[in-house]
């Protein structure tokens, strides 16, 4: 049991996966000699060689299509997309190939490709370096989509993703890369399955669903609300597709109130799917309409404005007030 950053936990997870299975190969821009712009793959090329940790030409569609070919040949490719905004050139291969080959071939061809994407804002970056494109992939059949929120989950989930026979789009909350936590070299069979959400704070008044970078914020909100006499149950979604709606439903059946948060733009974001699905499942038990706390429907703004785009503690608490039917609530529709 060691205390490490999430970035290091991902690195050790990748290392472990490569040790466990010689068919695991890494592809990406600057992941080799440099160790990745976030140093997640630091030391891996040195230790496993350039044949298993490949710096590739600067071409994301190429990286993804080549990964498909490697998977055809029986490899388990792990692709790094350098930043969220650079996934779009690879989206075609992801949607029409990676996510479909299993269905297309009636289960004959498997695509155990893991696609790592450092994502989200809050790091003061330039354009295309702070985005949350997960909804595109969660709407795409045939892809699993996950996001980790702690070093332990980062380590375990990346290993689970690589071991999974389905393609997994793995969203890493880059602004939490340097947050430390204890990390155990978990036995995968004992770990919570990759497609399951986790209740990280138990509570009885409001269910607050978050994932990736906002799980920390959601926990903080639960703490702050507790001071205010409110009991918030925080769920770390972990799997964005398929969604673990059973876990959310169980919670909402108890609380009768739902707040969902993500950095991605509101319209058509995951919050809509969760709100709609939970409304279907718990309609008669809901005390208030589910509330979404999300990025606004604008492109990711320049760094000096990102605090006015990203959900934060106060906006979460405001939403909690709203589902509680309290005064001064200003987010959501009914303002």
């Amino acid at each position: 049991m060691a205390t490490t950053t999430m970035a290091a936990a991902l690195g050790s997870g990748l290392r472990r996966a490569m040790e466990d299975d010689p068919r695991v190969v890494l592809l990406g821009e600057d992941i080799g000699r440099l160790g990745g712009v976030f140093r997640v793959t630091d030391g891996l090329q040195r230790d496993f060689g350039a044949d298993r940790v490949m710096d590739t030409p600067l071409a994301e569609a190429g990286i993804m299509g080549v990964a498909v070919g490697l998977a055809y040949r029986g490899f388990r490719p792990v692709v790094e997309i350098q930043f969220d905004g650079f996934v779009y050139p690879a989206l075609d291969q992801m949607v029409t190939q990676v996510g479909r080959l299993h269905y297309r071939t009636g289960g004959t061809v498997r695509m155990p490709v893991t696609i790592r994407i450092p994502y989200g804002g809050g790091i003061g970056a330039v354009e295309h370096h702070s985005e949350s494109p997960e909804a595109y992939f969660a709407h795409t059949p045939g892809l699993r989509v996950v996001s980790c929120a702690t070093p332990q989950d980062a380590h375990t989930m990346i290993r689970q993703a690589i071991a999974c026979d389905d393609p997994v789009v793995f969203f890493e909350p880059k602004r939490r890369y340097w947050v430390k936590g204890s990390v155990e070299d978990e036995v995968l069979d004992d770990a919570l399955p990759l497609d399951r959400a986790r209740v990280v704070v138990e509570g009885t008044d409001v269910t607050l669903v978050a994932y990736g970078p906002l799980v920390v914020t959601a926990r903080d909100a639960a703490l702050a609300a507790a001071d205010d006499g409110l009991s918030i149950e925080v769920i770390d979604l972990r799997s964005l597709s398929p969604l673990d709606l059973d876990t959310v439903e169980t919670s909402v059946r108890k609380t009768g109130r739902l707040v969902v948060t993500h950095e991605a733009q509101r319209s058509g974001g995951l919050g809509a799917e969760i709100a709609a699905s939970i409304t279907e499942r718990c309609f008669s038990l809901l005390h208030a309409a589910p509330v979404r706390v999300t990025g606004f429907d604008v492109p990711y703004p320049p760094a000096k404005l990102e605090e006015h785009f990203l959900p934060d503690l106060d906006r979460l608490l405001d939403a909690v007030d709203q589902v509680m039917g309290r005064q001064h609530s200003l987010t959501g529709w009914s303002a």
Partner: protein, 380 residues
Amino acid sequence: MLRSDVSDGRALPTTEEPPDPELVQLLAPDGTRRADPVYDAWVEDVDAERLLSLYEDMVVARRFDVEAVALQRQGQLGLWPPLLGQEAAQIGSARALRPDDFVFTSYRENGVAYCRGAAPVDLVRVWRGNALAGWDPWAIGMATPQVMIGAQTLHATGYALGCAKDGVDSVAVAYFGDGATSKGDVHEAMVFASSFAAPVVFFCQNNQWAISEPVGLQSRHPLADRALGYGIPSVRVDGNDVLAVMAATRVALDRARRGEGPSFIEAVTYRMGPHTTSDDPTRYADPEVREQWAAQDPIVRVEQHLHTRGALSEDRAQEVKEHAEAFAMELRDATYGMTAPEPLTVFDHVLVQPSAELERQRSQYAAYLAMFEGTSGGDE
């Protein structure tokens, strides 16, 4: 002043008229065997008997292709992309491969699939609308057809890289059209293949058309020259000459097996039919050009050559015809015999481990369908 100046201004693009003297050609349209100091050696083993076998393959391919078009006209298939005119390009290249090589193609390569061992029923499954893939890729060493133009060239490159990693001398072959060469994917495939010296053969069937668009719209310059810019050796070959195609493919395969990386072959041919059975080429294609190409027929020239050599007896010709006919009839019967897939299979194989949500959708839909059975099918 700059290195070369080949652009010919803003003239309207056209297709090429045959013949182009710069192409590698071993069998002239009239069946004459042309000597070639380089490529002859690569088809030395192709004696009359083997050439006859290539001839037979081409006849079979043409025959089942015609049959499939007919089946589409009868409403038995939803669509069919004819290969008419491209028999030599497909058979000559595919017959150069080993079983352990792996092929990635577009939709028109049914002649290639036939050579790899696809059964008649496999060839029609997709076009009847019964499945999204026609055959088991592992069984015949060939991925199922790719509809996204150009995407498969990257898959072939990745597969080839995997062969190199595995230390085997198998080769990946990517088939694609002239239109596909414009796609970024094909470029990126060549970038990766060159960078990693991947054992892949880029086999471009330049059939002069991308639906209604002439090749001159995609490029004002021979497509094979593109490869040189990546440091990938390339060759333009008479795509209607089965021997020349086979020779060039063998050279490229040999290079790849020896660890010398990718090659690019442009097989210059002509799409004699419509793009697909849905297409109407009278809106855009010049029938005179088609006539010129008809005189370059890939099958006729082998026939003539074999006749000249006295290697095609009437009996043998009859045998070939019967074989082709039998294959076509098998394909026909398979088509008619195909029943629609079971409704609930629509939910199968999205993920290896189905999601709870999809299982819910499946069971709800099953219950929904059962409701109709209850109301309408009570006396069955």
